[in-house]
Amino acid sequence: MNEVPLNHVLFVSTALFFIGMYGLFTRRNMITMLMSVELILNSVNINFVAFNKYLYPDKLDGVFFAIFIITIAAAEAAVAIAIIINLYRSHHSIDVKDAEEMRF
């Protein structure tokens, strides 16, 4: 079976990163923003796993990092959703445009 070349994988992760970035900057809905952040994190995960596999196939450091990031992403999602719920309780909306009073 033909191996997928490294730069293809990198291409996918880069695309994923910038899609996430784009979503983070343009979307106002906090749930969507959270999803965009997850995309970014996963693009990083792909990078870690890919580099681990192609550069140091006999080591597992990259994989461990990926697992670590997934754990953190889960914790982060919990915190973020808590924030979203609180925002909804206070502003009756999860649109960040409606919560702009913390300004000069």
Binding site: R28, A99, R103, F104
Partner: protein, 641 residues
């Protein structure tokens, strides 16, 4: 030699009563404040007399010379080895003489005030201030360190300020207290600079060491006499500046302007502070540093001499024209302090020449008694007539016999009529002047004649002249009469104290011999002055007014105190305000303030721009965050190459 450590109680007891009355007086001792303060002070006074007895008659002498005893030595602040502010207590003939005078007069004033200030709203505050003053003055005279004396010097200044402004609801009293404070502060600036000059060159602040270094050939003396500024050596500068401080406190020309106004305070206060004790602090200071003046500072000593004699004469002339009873006494005080000053000024190094020094201290001693007596009598008169003006008084001898007799005794004493105390001290001063400076002697003689004239002018106008009906018929309470009687006795007897064997500048007894012939001129002039005053003022007549109009401009000038106040106002308002004040204000507003405003405006502008960053939009923040990361990444990549 006995232990003198208990001397520390003499100043500390009034301090204790100051704290007691200051903290709890208004609440708990509203009426008992007076007796409490008086009782505490009585203990101090008894102790002072006991110390004086021990020192003068039991064990003050070593080999026939009065030595200086350090009763307490406590180093308070040490700047570096040798230069320190100590809290010392030194006992020598003049400091002991002063504590006796201060505590005794203060006690008399405390007792007198029991009647005089009765029913005052701020009775306890009054006694609290009096205690503060007594503490500071006792501390001042016992000081053994020049910066220590400066601290107490300011403390008496503050208590004087508080007491002059005691009736603070009267605008004139407020103005007077402010004037006294500012004028004396200005003089104290000179004092401070003088202290710094002396201390810098002599490398010590301790009186004994200072005097020892600046009177014997030492490297310090060479350094201070060779260094000069504007052609005058630093020794002369230092001593003259110290004298300016003394002149401010002692109301010497031209810094005397605060003293007549200070009469706005309660009269017993004038008796204590502005007649007997605080105003002689300047004389005391010069006496304390006298060896330096006499041995190495001749130039500064001549400043003391001429300022003293000029002030004595000027004040005597002004006193002849004033109509406010307390102002006459104030100018008379100034004149008598002038006597003490020029007595120091004519004194010199050596046993025989030291007569001026002894005379000055002797006059300080006797003057304290008869001048405070005069002021207390004036207080009794004012208490009865409710006016300070001599026009409102007259014929009072019938209503207040005790006051009348006391006043007469004090007037005779100040005029120098034998055998009252003023005679002896004035005679010593005049003899000292006669022996060394003829011109000073002649002016002094004239001044003593004038003294007799204006004092009896006052006496006859108040107690004889026309008949007036006083407001209330009684002469005042017993507590007002007793001090008058005690002080009268003191005035009569003080002259017989063998002063010249007790107080001399080097501790050696001085043989004073006043020949009868020498006394003829001053006593004759005094009697002439009294007779003249009797002719003019004994009964109401037109003669004084005629003489006044005949003298015309001169009388007017003297009545207006030679326009010295106006000159001060002119100099401050017109010259200093216009030439210094206004440009300084302009610079302050247009340059210093403008610079600050510019800084503020620039900051405001920048923050106006910057605050846009705090938009509240989460996505903006994210953008900054990523921009920052990208920026950092670029920098790190660039740096790795």
């Amino acid at each position: 030699m006995s232990n003198y450590a208990y001397v520390v109680l003499i100043p500390l007891l009034p301090l204790a009563s100051f704290f007691l009355l200051g903290l709890f007086g208004r609440k708990y001792f509203k009426t008992s404040a007076g007796p409490i303060a008086t009782a505490i002070l009585l203990v101090s006074t008894v102790l002072s007399f006991y110390v004086a007895y021990e020192y003068y008659f039991v064990d003050g002498k070593a080999d026939g010379i009065y030595r200086q005893i350090v009763a307490l030595k406590h180093t308070w602040l040490e700047f570096y080895p040798g230069i320190s502010i100590d809290m010392n207590i030194i006992l020598d003939p003049i400091s002991i003489m002063m504590i006796v005078v201060v505590s005794f007069i203060s006690l008399m004033v405390h007792v007198f005030s029991l009647g005089y200030m009765k029913g005052e709203e701020r009775f306890s505050t009054y006694y609290c201030f009096l205690s503060l003053f007594t503490f500071s003055m006792l501390g001042l005279v016992l000081s053994g360190n020049i910066l220590q004396i400066y601290i107490f010097w300011e403390l008496v200044g503050v208590s004087s300020y508080l007491l002059i402004g005691f009736y603070f609801e009267k605008p004139s009293a407020v103005a007077a207290s402010k004037k006294a404070f500012i004028v004396t502060r200005l003089a104290d600036l000179g004092f401070l600079i003088g202290i710094l000059i002396l201390a810098f060159h002599a490398e010590t602040l301790d009186f004994a060491t200072l005097i020892q270094r600046l009177t014997t050939p030492s490297p310090q003396l060479v350094s201070i006499t060779t260094a000069s500024f504007l052609g005058i050596s630093f020794l002369t500068w230092g001593l003259t500046l110290v004298f300016i401080g003394g002149a401010g406190k002692s109301a010497m020309f031209p810094l005397h302007i605060w003293l007549p106004d200070a009469m706005e305070g309660p009269t017993p206060v004038s008796a204590l502070i502005h007649a007997a004790t605080m105003v002689v602090a300047g004389v005391y200071l010069i006496a304390r540093l006298f060896p330096i003046f006499a041995i190495s500072g001749h130039a500064a000593l001549s400043v003391v001499r001429y300022v003293g004699v000029f002030s004595a004469f000027l004040a005597a002339i002004i006193a002849c024209t004033q109509t406010d009873i307390k102002r006459v006494l104030a100018y008379s005080t100034m004149s008598q302090i002038g006597f003490m000053m020029f007595a120091l000024g004519v004194a010199g190094f050596g046993n025989e020449e030291g007569l001026g020094y002894t005379g000055s201290m002797f006059h300080l001693f006797t003057h304290a008694f008869f001048k405070s007596l005069l002021f207390l009598c004036a207080g009794a008169v004012i208490h009865m007539v409710h006016s300070n003006e001599m026009h409102d008084m007259g014929g009072l001898r019938k209503f207040m016999p005790v006051t009348h007799i006391s006043f007469l005794i004090a007037c005779l004493a100040i005029s120098g009529i034998p055998p009252l105390s003023g005679f002896f001290s004035k005679e010593e001063i005049l003899l000292a002047a006669f022996n060394s400076h003829m011109a000073v002697y002649i002016i002094g003689l004239l001044t003593s004649g004038l003294t007799a004239f204006y004092m009896f002018r006052l006496y006859f106008s108040v107690f004889w002249n026309k008949d007036t009906m006083p407001h209330n018929g009684n002469e005042g309470t017993l507590t007002m009469k007793v001090p008058l009687i005690i002080l009268s006795v003191a005035t009569v007897l003080a002259g017989f104290v063998p002063f010249s064997t007790l107080v001399t500048w080097d501790g050696n007894p001085l043989q004073s011999h006043i020949s009868i012939l020498f006394s003829i001129a001053p006593v004759g002039l005094a009697i002439l002055g009294i007779l003249l005053a009797a002719v003019l003022y004994k009964s109401a007549n037109e003669r004084p007014a005629k003489i006044a109009s005949a003298l015309g401009g001169l009388y007017q000038a003297a009545y207006s105190k030679f326009y010295i106040d106006e000159i001060y106002i002119f100099v401050t308002r017109k010259i200093i305000f216009n030439l210094i004040g206004r440009p300084a204000a302009w610079i302050d507003r247009n340059i210093i303030d403008a610079f600050m405003n510019l800084l503020a405006a620039v900051t405001a502008k920048i923050s106006e721009r910057v605050r846009g960053l705090q938009s509240g939009k989460i996505q903006n923040y994210t953008l900054y965050f990523f921009a920052g990361i990208v920026g950092l990444a670029v920098i790190f990549i660039y740096m790795r190459k």
